[in-house]
Symmetry: C2
Subunit: 765 residues, 2 copies
């Protein structure tokens, strides 16, 4: 196969002085223990409840739970015994070896899972997926295998996981398996222009430890010098330099570049120099009063939710759910029940695209699909008092990569909080009624390279669930020269490279069973002649429209919220004839949720899930995920092409799945330096009961008060057992000790060209 | 003038048993004192700051501050001395008298205000507006007068406030000045069908104290029986009954109605009966653990913002602003400065429309413009621990109506809080940096009849300001019969009447002076051929477009957030050449922000500000408000027709004003019973610095931590003076005492037909 078409710019020159994007040099220590939370647990006051237990017992085994260390080890051992795979231990493997990259759970088929959860069926067999990189060949590739059933026994087998793809094969070509050769190639190429680099950039990039520059893409300090290589094949002696780019002028040979540089009218651009501006420490005049500790939330009387730590099962008020954690997508929720009925079978991230654009080939060709790196490996320990309230309940999570089982301690937090506004209020001539809005949040944060993605699942007393993503961390930026059509100049020689974020969520809703229908309830202007009026009136109506086929199931969110999107069970009307359902709506943000570009030259066949706001498909056990972590190796020939899910199937009262994007168009401005802030980089959707119950479910809480009064004053204060917090809280005792932070070593993603992606597993595990 | 065209249904029959919408019977006691907050003040721990003062001194007098009681009294006295006005004391005035309804401040001209604030000019003269109802005439009307300068002296005069209108006259016709006659008319009409009412509704509506029903529109208990009257003129003997409506069948005479009712095939509908479902008290099974007090926010070390109580001036971090409060629109902010520079001259609500639709004439003809009732009179005392944190700083506010000066105590709260997520975070291989997101909120709540509108202005450390409105309280509903195209059936005989909320805000931004330009920065898909590639690529670009004329200044929010809307000072580029500006964007909600109907038969010429998402006009001292509280008297001939602001004026680097809508399309479902909840009924916009400073302003806070680590563990915890809260907090001592609530008497709005509105001041002032 000729892959030169897919090779644009395999490498590029940019600065990597010590700064926010220093490359990983430290050993991995994912599983290092910490005592941070033990202090908090000891200081936490005892609950004043005599009946409530913060310990839950899962009613069913968590069949979605991550592979145990033992399971992972047995799978790896089993595979090493399959001699035809010719595996090398991951720790010893080089570019010409075959090695296991990732082992994870194959999520049970929904059919089997429901049989177990609802109908007393057997626990579904557990299977693992093993992602193996095959380097011992002229045409390196990756392949997923299904292994099981677990535990490994004589009846366990392995097979290519073809059925989970739309391509029909779990194999994907790796066009850039030779990182070591590429590093040397890049140094060899730049050595031929060392004098030009010294002149233009006032530094060196020779591969030496005392280099000023690195040959690299993603950073706050790009310098605007690029070269193009054809690195087709595994023999780097056949690779070819195809040209140089500087100041938007392309030179097809080094000689041409050198000649231009030598000429007196060669335009040299300012350098993009580091200094304190790239750091995120406090800077600027202190605010008045800011030395005083700000308000803080406390939980004086104990935890009001229950956790089954072993089964990763949680109960809060009328909600319950199971948690799992995967290498590719991090935290996921399963079997979310509300008042005893399942409302969501599966809720979790599918993929996160960050699609850049720019005048230069790096920005233009960058569109991260972050499951390539994985959200699991980068979901580090959270800091109480900052990332989550000091009183939060923390959970650990484990993933298995490079034949290492890694446990992040305290990387998921669960907490109740008061979001600062009420659930309900009303005042009348004789009473005032007020209900607190206490919400329950499940949170994890993944730092995938430059960006910190914070994920919240927020449950509320009215039966709603909000899914929120926020982004902070460093922007990826561009050299400033002539990049004005693609971003703002944000520093002396820096452009805030414009990009779209699109993060796709799978929301497999089941409203009173799996047979559901997606309906649009449209609010439309109409002209009507009524019997009681002589004139035609300009008014509006509610019009109901069903989405009955996958042909009509790629939706944009309507302008001005003119349509309500619902999942209903049309066969389960309430007593008034309205089908019971849940509404799905955007709730935060407004800066865009899907990609601007609908036919990206970078993402090719791998973008189908990100071109619209919302998609509906018929649930199939073979259509589990909208994307695949390995799609990024060859986006033109992906393992999962989401568009292939749409094959005209009926969506009428059947098991439907929503695939929904959050995100934003991000054109970084000066306020993104040093870091983007969460306040203006957030996006969310909320699902909420819609004719689902017969009244507002929050009426069940005790956390309300009614004050009856007349002109003589208050006549009655009616409470319902939800008294205000009382007693003493020792704030000093609940201060977290930041010195106990585990210090998970953060790794980062490397530059890559999605038209010619390469195996980055060394750094990302 | 013939007004019969404007008369559709002047009255209607519905239930008003004791319930959530009981009509006001109690005497007014707006200014009753309360001791609620004194308890809290005594229990609040002392600040640990030795330098910070919670008391501010306004740098300039608050020239926007509400009229003092003395000023209002002197204006009223002055007007009573103008014999040609023929005024009767409000307390004694009947339908055939002239009486002062409202006295308020005439906001100073911006020209004069800036001269004072910025250039050492004189304090602008203060003027009052007096809204007078003229009933002593066959053609009753209302008229606004400007009175001043204040204090009243020999040089004070009064004049019709024509220049503040677009109609050219401050007079507006009152087509329904005779409420007493109308009440009697309605009883007389219904008396003719008392037997039918007894049969259909199983009750009476005779005006007696033991009636089962009231003749009224807005309630949870409509019964679906309507009659149509022509009430043109002030002589009720000439009024005419024009027909009856029941079950969507119109009978043009009582005889016809009676005949139909007598026939065996007359369809009788179910009654809409009250019971516990209309109450908002706790109901349903208690949640497990809900007897435990939930988390609560505390402010252990004192207040970190400063207030000049007398001048209603506030400073928080790098922000400062002045507050005022008006009868029509409640809380308003002026002269919002950020880092010493004004960014907003004026920020406040203009109008709140709730536009209904329905099969019946009441729903179809209802479109509230709530400044008619006023947000000031209904902005009652807030409850600490529910409406606002217990540690909030409360302010009072005063309005002047019906010749009474009324002070709401503690009806505005100011507080800092932690919204539950960080401002900034980033982790790398060697450090983790975290910054708290402490926000400052200014809040008031107005219960205008059935709905409780909560208004927040939220200031953040990154320089952003979010304006949020949330709605709770009772829905207005419709009788269920055949109303399916206009709402869901939500109870036995009840339809949740569909409606649009559109709340218009004036946002008079001034970025580094008044000469500003509105620009759209559009993110657009493009095809580009780059010099470094042989192929045309499908990518995206940033395109800048100026809105230079009022002809182009009615905007919709773009689908998928594809355009960024900015106010910039094009003549004030930052050092990198990017104009300094602020971005305006939706931030919460997603269920719609402007009206569905663009040419409402109800609102007629009074809806111009609600048909789009956002408008830009050139600032003029004569175009101060988008709407007028009296527009509702005659929407076809409004005092202020917002569309008239658009007269092709240049918006290029001039003083521009934004008029922006928040809101939602609301199709109430069962979850809106008994009350709509704030969680899913909220809408917001945020303004945030955009290339305004050279970096993220939140870097100035001390509330951050950096944890440096390597593979050996934490090496350094770097703090910046923002330590975690410490010491003991006595939660019992800070519990509010709800028995001290003032119990402002809530009044409510009456049914009205905007095609024939009537004077409702008896109940609303």
């Amino acid at each position: 196969m000729l892959v030169s078409a897919a090779v644009v710019f395999s490498s590029l020159l940019s600065c990597a002085v010590a700064g926010p994007h220093a490359r990983l040099k430290s050993p991995k220590n994912w599983a290092k223990k910490t005592a941070l939370m033990e202090v908090l647990a000891a200081a936490s006051p005892p609950s004043n409840s005599t009946t409530f237990s913060p310990v839950a017992v899962a009613p069913k085994a968590n069949i979605f739970i991550s592979l145990t260390d033992d399971e992972a080890a047995s799978v790896i051992s089993f595979l090493h015994n399959q001699t035809e795979l010719n595996l090398t231990a991951a720790a010893d493997a080089g570019a010409w070896d075959n090695a296991i990259e990732v082992v994870d759970l194959v999520q049970p088929n929904k059919t089997d899972a429901l049989e177990y959860l609802d109908n007393g069926g057997a626990v579904p067999d557990r299977f693992a997926v093993a992602r193996i990189a095959f380097g011992a060949t002229d045409e390196p590739y990756l392949q997923d295998f299904i292994v099981g059933p677990l535990p490994i026994s004589n009846s366990s087998t392995y097979a290519s996981l073809d059925w989970a793809t739309t391509s029909g094969s779990a194999k994907i070509r790796n066009h850039n398996a030779d990182e070591d050769l590429l590093t040397q190639w890049n140094l060899d190429v730049t050595a031929t222009v060392a004098d030009i680099i010294l002149d233009l950039l006032n530094g060196t990039a020779t591969g030496s430890d005392d280099d000023d520059f690195d040959i690299w893409g993603e950073t706050l300090l790009p310098q605007g010098l690029f070269f193009k290589s054809d690195i087709t094949g595994r023999d780097s002696s056949k690779w070819q330099l195809q040209g140089w780019l500087y100041g938007d002028v392309f030179y097809s040979t080094t000689e041409e570049f050198r000649q231009a540089w030598s000429s007196p009218d060669f335009v040299k651009y300012d350098l993009n120099l580091p200094s304190s501006w790239i750091g995120s420490d406090q800077t600027g005049d202190f605010f008045p009063g800011d030395n005083i500790a700000p308000p803080i939330a406390v939980q004086p009387n104990g935890q009001r939710f229950s956790v089954d730590e072993e089964q990763k099962y949680v109960e809060w008020m009328d909600f319950s759910f199971y948690i799992t954690f995967t290498r590719d997508t991090g935290l996921r929720l399963f079997d979310i029940k509300y008042k005893g009925d399942r409302i969501i079978y599966e809720l979790g991230l599918q993929e996160a695209i960050a699609h850049y654009a720019g005048l230069d080939p790096v920005q233009s060709a960058t569109s991260y699909m972050d499951t390539f790196y994985g959200f699991g490996p980068y979901a580090f320990e959270l800091v109480p008092g900052f990332d989550c309230p000091t009183y939060s309940h923390f959970l650990n999570a484990t993933f298995h990569a490079a034949e290492v089982s890694t446990t992040h301690r305290n990387n998921i937090c669960l907490f109740e909080s008061d979001p600062g506004y009420l659930m309900q209020r009303h005042s009348s001539s004789n009473y005032l009624a007020l209900t607190k809005n206490i919400v329950f949040t499940l949170r994890s944060v993944s730092t995938v390279g430059n960006y910190d993605y914070s994920f919240d699942y927020v449950f509320a007393l009215d039966g709603s669930i909000e899914t929120i993503v926020r982004a902070s961390g460093y922007i990826q930026s561009a050299f400033y020269a002539k990049n004005n059509d693609y971003g703002y100049q944000v520093h002396d020689a820096l452009s805030g490279s414009m990009h779209d974020h699109a993060l796709n969520w799978k929301v497999d809703m089941d409203i009173l069973g799996t047979e559901n229908t997606f309906v649009k309830h449209k609010i439309v202007p109409v002209q009507v002649k009524y019997p009681w009026s002589n004139n035609t009136r300009s008014t509006m109506q509610l019009q109901r429209e069903r989405v009955e086929n996958e042909d009509d199931a790629k939706l944009y969110w309507p302008r001005n919220g003119a349509d309500m999107f619902l999942v209903e069970n049309s066969d389960q009307p309430n007593k008034y004839g309205e089908p019971r359902g849940y509404k799905i709506a955007p709730s935060r943000g407004g800066a865009g949720m899907h990609l601007t570009i609908q036919n990206s030259s970078v993402l090719l066949k791998s973008q189908g899930f990100a071109t619209h706001g919302l998609y509906i498909t018929k649930q199939k056990d073979t259509e589990v995920r909208a994307s695949h972590a390995n799609n990024d190796y060859d986006p033109g020939h992906p393992l999962i092409d989401f568009d292939a899910f749409f094959d005209s199937e009926s969506l009428n009262q059947t098991d439907i799945v929503l695939w929904l994007n959050l995100g934003m168009h991000h054109v970084p401005h000066t306020g993104d330096l040093p870091n983007t802030v969460f306040t203006t980089a957030q996006s969310a959707f909320i699902i909420s009961p819609h004719n689902y119950l017969l009244n507002d479910a929050s009426r069940a809480t005790r956390q309300m008060v009614r004050i009856d009064y007349n002109s003589s004053g208050v006549q009655l204060v009616k409470e319902f057992g939800g008294k205000m917090p009382s007693g003493m809280v020792n704030l000093t005792a609940i201060q977290p000790n930041f010195n106990n932070y585990e210090g998970d070593i953060a790794t980062r993603k490397f530059p890559y060209d999605p038209l010619h992606p390469y195996n980055d597993t060394e750094s990302i595990v």
